[in-house]
Symmetry: C2
Subunit: 418 residues, 2 copies
């Protein structure tokens, strides 16, 4: 089985490289980023032509236009990749940071120091820009990376990974820091997920079935970047214009993102004044609305939402709307149907904010702001590898710091345990 040898060989190489990579300096890692930027710029045409092979195959195989859009690289997308490299170069390197230092009564000095995690496996789908963006974040934080992209992007990924490897070598780093697994299909993924001796963390980025496979098969720790069924709750005491603007932004600005609003919850006391205005704006933006029974009394022209709607991430210009009796009902609904991603309350009542912030269990809670702000850049991290919907290790946007762990360094002068 050639693919099996390929996978284990690459995992072993990455593990070995990771022991050196723990101690690469910021200067070395930034040198790599500079080289990568130059190599991508100088090979734009080659990258686009490799990508074109993938796109042609995808068209031939009747993939959806959304899929082909995610797969396609353009000069514009490449310049976005170059901008990401520039941003990551400018970010502070978290490795080596002293998190804490204590001296114990017995004289032991205990330092807690930030270190890279080691080897990170990224399992993703068709987007070749992820190949570069995930790699540079892992590498800048001193980690090695094993990339498993979709087979549909294999020509693009091979070209990009060859440029990353070239740049590593130019910067004097080990080219084994980056490894692309491209053969073996699902079997190779399953095998990869069993190699807990060599890989320290798996980050799956993709749709429901990919995440499900990874969670079920992996013996390696996983941080899920799962779906966002995000809510905005409009309380009874609000600034009407602000509420309309925030809800519009949360739904319409970029509906295909995980931090877009999927369900609007409205307090019953304000529903009859708020919903008709909101519906007018949504209608103009071609948003399909699906409402609960009480919403339909106010907006008789829209369809009724089914039970399934409340847990659906549309990723599209569709919204479900529910009128609630109280803040408590809103919180209950969110804790039941939400995915612990981003949840907003719009209100002028500070007590309601406090209650909402305390009782809703989610990574990011917003008061009078759009859920669209859940983002590494917007949170001041500079860039993100994704948004964790897990509670272990990292919650919400994951930047460089979230790609590290720590070790304890203990300095003694002969202490023994009594």
């Amino acid at each position: 089985m050639r693919w099996q040898e390929e996978v284990i060989e690459k995992a072993k190489r990455a593990k070995k490289a990771s022991l050196n990579a723990m101690n690469y300096t910021t200067y070395q890692k930034n040198k790599f980023l500079v080289a990568l930027s130059a190599n991508i710029s100088q090979n734009e045409r080659k990258i686009l032509s490799a990508n074109n092979k993938d796109v042609k195959n995808a068209i031939k195989n009747n993939y959806s236009s959304a899929f082909i859009d995610r797969l396609t690289l353009t000069y514009e997308r490449i310049s976005k990749i170059l901008k990401s490299i520039e941003i990551v170069k400018g970010l502070p390197d978290p490795v080596g940071e002293k998190i804490s230092e204590i001296i114990r009564p017995n004289g032991l000095k205990i330092e807690k120091i930030r270190t890279p995690i080691g080897v990170i496996g990224i399992i993703y789908e068709s987007r070749p820009d992820v190949t570069v963006e995930a790699s540079i974040l892992c590498l800048k934080s001193g980690n090695c990376v094993i990339l498993r992209g979709g087979k549909e992007a294999k020509h693009s990924n091979r070209m990009l990974v060859s440029l990353i490897k070239k740049s590593l070598v130019e910067a004097g780093l080990s080219e084994d820091m980056v490894n692309l697994i491209s053969s073996g299909g699902r079997k190779a993924v399953r095998y990869l997920l069993s190699l807990n001796k060599y890989i320290d963390l798996i980050i799956p980025r993709g749709g429901e079935s990919l995440i499900k496979t990874v969670v079920e098969e992996s013996t390696i720790p996983v941080i899920k970047h799962y779906k966002g069924v995000c809510h905005t709750y409009v309380d009874r005491d609000v600034d009407m214009n602000m509420a309309l603007n925030l809800c519009y932004n949360a739904k319409v600005h970029r509906p295909a993102t995980c931090n877009a609003m999927e369900t609007l919850l409205v307090h019953k006391d304000i529903a009859s004044s708020f919903l008709p205005l909101m519906a007018k704006m949504f209608k103009e933006a071609k948003v399909e609305m699906r409402g609960c029974k009480r919403t339909l009394e106010i907006l008789p022209d829209i369809n009724e939402a089914t039970e399934e709607d409340w847990s659906t991430e549309y990723l599209d210009l569709i919204i479900s709307i529910k009128v609630v009796d109280s803040l408590d009902e809103a919180i209950e609904h969110i804790n039941r149907y939400g995915t612990m991603h981003s949840e907003a309350i719009i209100t002028n009542n500070r007590e309601a904010v406090n209650k909402f912030f305390k009782e809703v269990d989610a990574a990011a809670l917003f008061h009078n702001a759009s859920t669209r702000f859940t983002d590494g850049g917007e949170f001041g991290m500079g860039a993100e590898i994704g948004i964790s919907t897990d509670k272990i290790h990292a919650r919400g946007p994951m930047g460089l710091v979230e790609l590290t762990t720590y070790k304890y360094l203990i300095y003694g002068n002969g202490q023994i345990r009594q």
Copy 2:
């Protein structure tokens, strides 16, 4: 299937309770600890008699004496449990701590606040003291807990959990914060590990086969408390007496613990002077020594170590000894055979320490101190739920802080994403 209903019912109850438990005050949680202390004291005889049933069964079923020792409660062990409760009561409550606060250029204020994880499943073996000690740490940090102890301890565990529930109620907290699963055997464990909708984290504590099952079956994030194959490396430039004392302590003080030394590495330049003295001390303490070929040239009376020895956690008065050419060889050996737990270097050479601390990949690295210090109490955490051998979320001793996650609270005044 009665057990299946039991497991899902308890998981659902714990999840529901966890939403309230996120916001319990320190006062309430300490009130519970006070009640628990009283209830355990007042029911010592009942606890011991329940435990006696388990012990009698275990004897009847021919369990090993080590197993029966772990299973057995005594007045002394109960007073240790009471002391743990007292310690945990005195620990600062990490929940609600503001980890950071920033104000973004657009005016959004982003607070990062420490919160409980939610529902934690503890899967362990025969020790009934774990039932109380794991529970109080989870509860003090605002988490709910599902306990799955060994069936051999079922009478003890039922008694202890009933006292915990009673104490929760007396403190005005939900008794659903603690749940014991005692039926269904392995099948129940497997089913529990699939309930990722209700359980946020699994902590397995136990031997190799338990950990392996959990890692392979769980779709819930797992933090392993796995074995410690810990090394001490004696460099060429050492204080001989200190080196002898530290190695003796690391091996002999409590050989059955995960932070005890299993392998001694000795620099070739010092081996012939150090090893005979060390061997004399070990012999007096009845430590069985197994050496590499070069060790055998110095200590001809001991047996040769096999390849398997280098990765064995003896948990006993046995040690493997290897002579190495250099610090590099020692580091390579540790990174190859170690379990990333606790590793020590004994040297007077500061450069050697720096290299060792940089290049060895483990949770705790010691300079001139015994590996036995890897412990929540010794690290100033007050108490620990165990020692993580993972790199994700928590590494090394896990105290209250490591049993928390965080959420972002974002305060706006109408900000929308451009």
